[in-house]
Symmetry: C2
Amino acid sequence: MIRIGKLTDYGILIMTYLAREPEGLHAAQEIALAVGIALPTANKLLKMLARGGLLESQRGTKGGYALSRPPSTITMVDIIGALEGPVGLTDCGTAQQPGNCQRERSCSVKANWQRISQAVNDALAGVTLAEMTVPSQPIRIYERQPAQPVT
Amino acid sequence: MIRIGKLTDYGILIMTYLAREPEGLHAAQEIALAVGIALPTANKLLKMLARGGLLESQRGTKGGYALSRPPSTITMVDIIGALEGPVGLTDCGTAQQPGNCQRERSCSVKANWQRISQAVNDALAGVTLAEMTVPSQPIRIYERQPAQPVT
DNA sequence: TAAAAATGGTACTATAATTGTACTGTATTA
DNA sequence: TAATACAGTACAATTATAGTACCATTTTTA
């Protein structure tokens, strides 16, 4: 099974909460309570999301966090990227980075993996935070090509 | 970063090797040597792939493994599924399984995650083993829809 | 018929990555 | 100036993965 980490999962819940509550700033404590995770964990994630440029933060007594952009312009790739680094499936490297793969010589599979990573990347880039806040709206990311002959 | 395990990576190398050598049976020892992994590891993977129905096996002195179907009918989803279980991104469940998620009540994100998992699943199902054996052939899985208005 | 070769299944250990927490520093407000 | 809240780093505990070993079963061959 391909999976994303629990922390990333929490992170998306956090982002979803903030998207639903666009008014003003929200302290880490409030967010942790609302999402249902421990405060230290929420703190950690909020810091990472802020460093990734997805959240604006303000310190001080009335401080807190808020989305830095409209939810419709934030995609799953942005969030996952901020919490787990660039999206890729193997150490062969993502579409951007070269990758640190031994074996090189015998590995003619590399280029193909990079393309697959790209496809997954595109799939995740097609889903916005705004769409995630709406419970059951049909999401249309891709349309399959006519028909693949299965030889 | 979303990733698949090393073992799955090895498994795909094994499958690729077998796809390139369609003649007769191949013993685990031969495969381990060719792919460049330890014999016990190769054994483990070959067993799993056989149990998943992707490989035919024969015991005995002249035994070994071979693909059970033509490479063009085996996709990345088949291989990953055999080695890591169904493809999914969170514990929310795959398109097939319900998933074991606490929180249920506050988690309206669930349905969306399942759709995203489906999209990734489709992306991986679009790449066949036959395509992986060809070093640098352009893979066309999906075509993006005209344009998504980025509000 | 027996021995050798190879897969099938299960269980176990060691390693590595993830997760979760704590501590110290800095900024802002009352 | 005291209290509140974010920023950054580092660390401990847990968990999952990776890798190995063992024994059973099947098939071929001498």
